[in-house]
Symmetry: C2
Subunit: 245 residues, 2 copies
């Protein structure tokens, strides 16, 4: 059942180093490790890897993939449907490109005219529609989830959240590693854990990262004070690292 690293690598056609790397950045860690430290991958790991590779196929950065699949509202089946849609769009783009080659050939033989713009139809790197769409879809889900969480809180809890934000905003120009900041961020951590089940330290750090990575979070948070999102991200990162021992 459990596979070792090379077995998995060979099966899916990627390198051992890639699996090591995915483990290193916490994108895909083996379900267990043997006594001697060997990575042992389960069938669940394998399915997750498939999802990751689908995301990667549409050129999504690993950081973002990590966000999406670790988002609690991530649904495998829905993801597959989305992948399907993206891949179909990618094929459309590829068809355009194939058409462009064909036209270029004719153009070269002098059979047809071709504008400069037409010569590059189908390349479209800048605003690849499927990339944007995927990012939006999965990003939206994270935002929605977060909003729903806050909306579902009691009025008292909402007030507590607001107070924590205000306090953090008032000290946002000090060091994120200062005692004061770390104490305030601990309140935030405890608040999250009280209201939404348990947040692991890693998840907490990841959440902080999202505050700066996703514009919509940044915008919301920075309403309490300019640069607060960045400050919280740093403070949360430090908090997670410092409390691991």
């Amino acid at each position: 059942m459990a596979m070792r690293v090379k077995e998995l690598a060979d099966l899916v056609g990627i390198s051992v180093r890639t699996l090591h790397y995915y483990d290193e950045i916490g994108l895909l860690s083996p379900e267990e490790t043997s006594d001697s430290g060997y990575r042992l991958y389960s069938n669940d790991n394998l399915e997750m890897l498939q999802q990751i590779l689908f995301f990667r196929e549409i050129d999504m950065p690993l950081k973002e993939i990590k966000h999406f699949i670790s988002c609690s509202s991530f649904d495998k089946q829905e993801a597959l449907l989305q992948h399907q849609k993206m891949l179909l769009e990618k094929r459309n783009q590829l068809d355009k490109l194939i058409n462009t080659v064909g036209k270029s050939l004719k153009h070269m033989k002098g059979e047809i005219q071709m504008t400069n713009k037409e010569k590059f139809e189908g390349f479209d790197f800048s605003q690849n529609p499927y990339e944007q769409e995927a990012r939006k879809l999965w990003g939206d889900k994270a935002v929605d989830e977060s909003n729903a969480k806050v909306a579902g809180m009691s009025k008292e809890a909402q007030k507590a959240v607001s107070e924590i934000y205000t306090k953090l905003a008032s000290i946002r120009n000090s060091s994120p590693e200062s005692e004061e900041a770390q104490a305030a961020i601990k309140e935030w951590y405890d608040c999250l854990n009280q209201n939404f089940g348990t947040y692991s330290l890693d998840a907490f750090k990841g959440l902080g990262q999202m505050y700066v990575d996703d514009q919509r979070f940044t915008k919301n948070i920075d309403q309490y004070g300019d640069g607060l999102a960045k400050f919280m991200c740093d403070a949360m990162g430090h908090f997670a690292d410092a409390n691991k021992n």
Copy 2:
């Protein structure tokens, strides 16, 4: 007619930085520059860029692309035909992948069985057939060209080549930058220029690089002595750099 860097970048949908970079590594340099140092791209430059992007589309490293398009036997029309073939193969692979998603969906619903191998059909990173094929095709052309050149030489010239190789092999353990090595490499440079039209210093350097990049060259050259290809590459690179002023 002549376009400035942003105009071209916007037209094809890549960044200005990318064009700067391509200039920097000598992959695509503008046909002329204005008095104030602005890059001015011609229509030929634009067509070359199209070729480059086609190569890039099948994930070919820029170094290799540079080899191929600067190879004197590079034929635009033939290249387009080849691109067409590759892109069609790529679409086939994409179809496989789309099929895999569909099957995975059904598998998830419990409608069908699926082996682990099937779950990764269509990803095929390791030995993407079109990449290999392209590499082989264009690599072969370079080798063929080289062989044809040598074969077309007079017997005396062939003997001269052999002597230069032998001499180089005998000193291959000294520094490639030593006077002795540089003198011998100058002989090689002059020999090439005498027999096959003019080789620019850049082309000479590129040729040396190919000696180590392409196994077939390495193998041939190293028959005169182990490590000779690497030695020649270094010596040729230094020769080109040193003689630019």
